[in-house]
Amino acid sequence: MVQSVQLSASLEDYLEAIFCLFSEKGGIRAKDIARRLGVKAGSVTGALQALSEKKLIRYAPYEVITLTSEGLQKARQIVRRHEVLKEFFVEVLGVDEAIADEGACTLEHGIPKVIFERLTEFVETYKKDQVMTDTKKEASLADLKPGQKGTVLRLNPRGSITRRLADMGIGRGALIEVERVAPLGDPIDIKVRGYHLSLRKNEAAEIKLSVL
């Protein structure tokens, strides 16, 4: 089984590099790998021999290096792990991309499978949520077009007017539908709690909605 093939951290790095180069150019030579990983050509040869022994790559001196099907699968796993970690750092933790890359390189090899699985799951749902909130966009009431609806997320406080709006039933969670805009473009006519209310766009801009 592929999973049973255990690789050292450095071999994983080699495999990853080969995979990346392979998908970029197709044919790979030892010196490409050396350049990419910033190591001496001599150490590359040793590593390639080790990978070849594990039947992950096809390697003969002075020939183009290719991945075996097992090697391809293994490499994909490694790359995926790197990507998940990097995603976690960038998307969730908000780390800079370059630093995230570096961090992923350092952490990817030693990470226990369970933790990795959980992490993958977390990043997946997190990303899905992000997509959801993107489509369920937040917008101000002033930006809604007639016929659009949304629920109130919050009122930006602006003195007594906020209070008034709350009194009129525009509170968190209230459903608002824009009915129409006045012929001259300002006030708008909205329906909230079953009645019609008109307010200027100026005031409507302070009401943030989650658009339905």
Partner: protein, 688 residues
């Protein structure tokens, strides 16, 4: 001990049919006045029922009981200062959630409540299925369904009022509304800080006070609390902000709506989704993107036409009637006798009263039109349509309507500003209304334009004069809003109530109440001023010998010159000169103070023309000889800008509540007229 007098306060949202119910409950036994110091109507009425004398106090219509508007403060103060035996809260049944919001606040004030579910027929027709007994149980107060416009449920409401008032003491205390742990904690800590026997604690109740403090209610916060108290409240506010993420007042409002939603969900099932009512269909046309404004313009034209076309013949009748009365009065004296009493009666009092009463048809018709527009729900739409324009000059959409009426007559227009809720807004509108060129100025233009300008310019000149007025009104409104009446522009958060067919009774009552106010109050002041002006143009008398051998016209001229008005006119000569006016125009202008249209007649007397009107060619001939077109234009300009008549001062005093504003307006307009006319005259003279 049997109580036979019950005081009932009527509370409710605007447009809930509160006034209609009040009328149905009290009939014609109403007393209308103003709350002291403000121009918010105070209405009271009596009803005798089953041996009880029930006094109804109609509170101003409010959505809430915060200190947001003057109406809300008044409603609250009445409930506290003159606690009624019970409060009937009029609820629009087709709009329960928002209406019940006020209920929650009335409950907090520990009032004994009866809910009148008004317009229950509309609600049922719209498919709202309500479990009233259940709702009554949940809210802890009796509910009576009513249809005020058809007087249904009135007796049951009266029975319930009496029942509830009699058994008031037996009612178990209502558990207070709970606002959630965070707010309750802060409420308790504030309540603990309110000292025992604090003067406010007694009438309002501790919990209510604490709640208002937490809501940062300006009215309550500014009642001189000790410094540590203020700080504790500020701390509590901060804590809530931090924990809940919103201002406490918003959280509290949300919780109230939460309680209502909960109650409604249990007892109220909108069986059909009532999305497209007839009212919505009407709005689709009346507020249409393209049709909305033309329809509005047409409707406004109809109001205008109704007021002035229909009113003019009626005015003619009243004039004829007063003339007949004057002739009959004069007939009491021998034909040639000159008596000061006769002159006072005929020229002063009858002339003065006639001058006031003559506007009554216009005013009544206008108020009829306004009442229909208001009661039908279109007024809010008019404001909705025009707000963009009015907002630019710092006013509210509703200001447009009185301004438009101003083109007919400033007096009903100024009274029409009552539709504006915000005081600054209302004062600004009040101040600029006279700049809308009123009908009384028209005779002056009609006389002068043909006298000085070639026919092809007539239309343009007329248009120019009106436009100058509108332009000045815009500038003045803007200036006032930037200086004296500065303040937040009034946020435009206005309900668009469902359209309703106005009841004939309601509309007529509305019309009559407002028209009556004009007759009663403004009438007395205008009458007094008319008499003063009469005296000014009649005294001192010229000796008979001075008039000997003069024709009647010449005698009139000499008499006018000799009178106070004539002398003031002459004395004003040097002051008027920069505007290009001579003393003859000055004298005519003094007379025009009573009413602008008098200017033409006075000019006729000054020129010894006897009776003149704006069609008088000979007068035009004379004017052409004596004055340049520039002077003619300046006269029109002055007539346009200066205060239209003394009656507007009286009405402005009434509507603004103080003489300060009335005199400010008078002085301001006069100064503005003087300044602009003088500049135009001087610049014009250099250029021409």
């Amino acid at each position: 001990m049997k109580q036979t007098r019950i005081t009932v306060a009527l509370a409710g949202n605007p447009n809930s049919g509160k006034t209609t119910l009040f009328n149905a409950l009290t009939g014609a036994r109403q007393h209308i006045g103003n709350y002291p110091g403000v121009t918010v109507e105070k209405k009271e009425g009596l009803r005798f029922y089953n041996g009880f004398e029930i006094k109804f106090v109609d509170l101003p219509g409010t959505y809430s009981l915060t200190a947001y508007s003057i109406e809300e403060i008044i409603a609250r103060d009445v409930l506290v200062a003159e606690p009624p035996d019970l409060v009937v809260h009029v609820v629009d049944s087709s709009n329960l959630e928002r209406n019940l919001y006020l209920t929650t606040q009335l409950m907090e004030m520990n009032t004994t409540l009866v809910l009148a579910f008004n317009m229950i027929d509309v609600a049922r027709r719209q498919g709202h299925d309500m479990d009233l007994p259940k709702l009554s149980e949940l809210l802890g107060c009796p509910i009576v369904p009513t249809v005020a416009s058809r007087k249904k449920g009135i007796d049951r409401l009266l029975d319930t009022i009496i029942q509830t008032a009699r058994h008031k003491a037996d009612r178990p205390a209502r558990p207070p509304l709970r606002y959630g742990k965070e707010i309750e904690q802060q409420l308790e800590s504030i309540m603990r800080l309110i000292p025992d026997g604090h003067p406010l604690a007694e009438p309002y109740g501790r919990r209510w006070l604490a709640l208002k403090l937490l809501e940062q209610d300006r009215e309550i916060l500014d009642r001189g609390w000790p410094e540590p108290m203020i700080q504790a409240v500020a701390q509590s506010v901060e804590r809530i902000k931090k924990h809940v993420g919103d201002e406490p007042e918003i959280v509290i409002a949300d919780r109230r709506y939460g309680v209502i939603s909960g109650a409604c969900q249990e007892a109220f099932r909108p069986s059909v989704e009532s999305r497209h009512t007839a009212s919505d269909a009407a709005d689709a046309v009346l507020l249409h993107r393209l049709l909305g404004l033309p329809i509005f313009a047409l409707l406004m034209y109809a109001v205008f036409a109704l007021t002035f076309r229909l009113g003019d013949p009626l005015m003619g009748w009243i004039e004829t009637a007063f003339e007949g009365l004057a002739t009959a009065t004069a007939g009491l004296w021998p034909p040639d006798a000159e008596s000061p009493v006769k002159s006072l009666l005929v020229d002063g009092i009858l002339g003065g009263v006639g001058g006031v009463v003559v506007f009554l048809p216009n005013i009544l018709l206008l108020f009829l039109a306004i009442a229909i527009i208001e009661d039908s729900g279109y007024m809010a739409r008019a404001a909705f349509l025009m707000d963009r324009v009015m907002h630019k000059i710092g006013l509210h959409g509703k200001s447009f309507i009185p301004m438009l009426i101003g083109f007919g007559c400033s007096i009903p227009a100024m009274m029409g500003t009552r539709i504006l809720e915000d005081r600054r807004n209302r004062l600004t509108t009040l101040m600029i209304i006279p700049l809308m060129s009123c009908g009384a100025r028209l005779p002056i233009y009609a006389l002068l334009i043909p006298a000085f300008f070639a026919p092809c310019w007539h239309g343009l000149m007329m248009w120019l004069i009106y436009m100058i007025g509108i332009g000045l009104a815009i500038v003045c409104a803007w200036l006032l809003r930037k200086t004296l009446l500065r303040g937040q522009t009034v946020p435009f958060v206005m309900e668009l109530p469902p359209y309703r067919v106005p009841t004939l009774r309601g509309v007529l009552l509305h019309m009559w109440q407002r028209g009556g106010l004009y007759l009663k109050k403004a009438g007395t002041v205008i009458l007094a001023i008319s008499i003063v002006l009469w005296a000014m143009t009649s005294y001192p008398k010229v000796g008979d010998e001075a008039l000997a051998g003069l024709s009647e016209e010449q005698a009139g001229q000499v008499a006018l010159r000799h009178s106070i008005a004539g002398r003031v006119g002459s004395a004003l000569g040097p002051v008027l000169r920069p505007m290009g006016f001579d003393e003859r125009i000055g004298t005519a202008l003094i007379g025009a103070l009573a009413a602008k249209e008098v200017f033409v007649a006075q000019l006729g007397i000054v020129y010894s023309m006897g009776q003149t009107d704006e069609e008088s060619e000979t007068l035009r001939e004379k004017l052409r000889q004596d004055y340049t077109p520039l002077q003619g234009f300046c006269i029109m300009l002055f007539a346009l800008i200066s205060a239209p008549c003394i009656a507007t001062v009286a009405v402005c005093r009434r509507e603004s509540g103080t003489w300060t504003w009335a005199l400010f307006q008078f002085a301001g307009l006069t100064a503005l007229a003087y300044g602009i006319t003088a500049v135009v005259y001087q610049v014009g003279r250099l250029l021409l």
